[in-house]
Subunit: 211 residues, 2 copies
């Protein structure tokens, strides 16, 4: 699985900045794609591999902070590094609160930006791995029939087959049959595995006991 290489997006309305950043990134072996506006960036199709975004705060139309908000709202979890010529404290605080990896004022040290980019890419890679794992599990959950999903929840809540049967108004036999179906479909080798899968996708039918 040679997944595509790391990619750095640069969004800045200043041509020379874009060129300089692109050169810098390429000088350390990173692929770059540049955009002159937030809107232009939003038009592109998603990148399959690890990526991050270097973003100028001040831009015509949509500002960098607006774009960050936009991305978050659309569920895109791309790590963002801000650069700015005239940054203010409130601006940087807002950006960092919204999850920015770094907020750099021009002129900045090249190495500082490169370090930030590496950190951002690493973060994205981890997020992707986690997301992929969750998607995989979720897919298995989706392969369950509605009834099986229901029983799934009851099983991982620690209920006995007979209890489940009673609650659902069916027979214990049925529960057993579906239970093994669930184990197959979820590819769980043991109840312990099944519970862990349920925890990962946040399935908690029963009352999560407080101390």
């Amino acid at each position: 699985m040679t997944d595509s290489e790391a990619l750095v997006f640069v969004v800045d309305d200043d041509d020379s900045v874009r060129k300089a950043l692109a050169r810098l990134m390429r000088s350390v072996g990173l692929h770059v794609e540049t955009f002159r506006s937030a809107g232009e960036f939003l038009g592109r199709e998603p990148h399959p591999g690890p990526a991050c975004l270097i973003l100028d705060v001040r831009m015509p139309d949509l500002s960098g902070l607006d774009l960050q908000k936009e991305l978050a709202a659309s569920g895109t979890t791309l790590p963002v590094i801000f650069i700015t010529g005239h940054g203010t404290v409130p601006m940087s605080v807002q950006a960092m609160k919204a999850g920015a990896v770094e907020f750099l004022e021009k002129p900045f040290d090249d190495q500082t930006l490169i370090d930030a980019v590496h950190e951002a890419l690493k973060k994205d890679q981890q997020a992707r791995l986690k997301k992929a794992e969750l998607r995989e599990i979720h897919e298995r959950v989706c392969s369950l029939t509605p009834r099986e999903r229901e029983i799934f929840g009851l099983v991982v809540s620690g209920k006995l087959n007979k209890q489940i049967a009673f609650e659902l108004g069916t027979s214990e036999k049925t529960v057993k049959a579906q239970r093994s179906q669930i184990m197959k479909k979820m590819r769980a080798d043991s109840l312990a595995d099944l519970v862990r899968l349920a925890v990962k996708v946040g399935i908690t039918t029963s009352v999560d006991q407080a101390s």
Copy 2:
């Protein structure tokens, strides 16, 4: 369980600022304790209830950012709100990276600070609840004998009693006996519960299967 009330710590070397902040906090019904230096604050004993810290960045001796670092290093997870007269972007970025709730420049809006304090207290409360839960579970784990802990790990990894017995070179009978001891001591009503407890305290003996 009437746990003690919320408490706001203020650390600032300026007398008038301390007084003003104390008055502001009291005006919204919050208890306050003020300190004129980081060192003085570090000398106090921990507060049992929800708390947060309003911290001036620039102070003689230990700066606010240093104190924040100090606290983190000592395992204290007190939410911090920074206030400063002459803040810079790098300063605020550092503070936010280190987990600060807010970073405000003087003069700031009273309500903004109050909102931040409430947010910080809420955060601390949640952190305390989570920590208390973990401590409780950890205590139960500590009540297990070394052998029981070992079996605990194997049980939640999904192994059968007979497999566990084989791996440990004992008999299945023994494993069963200790297994029920474990369930009692951990106060788990089912294997599912036990697995969830194990997940919470990060017990993963077996290979955590990747997709």
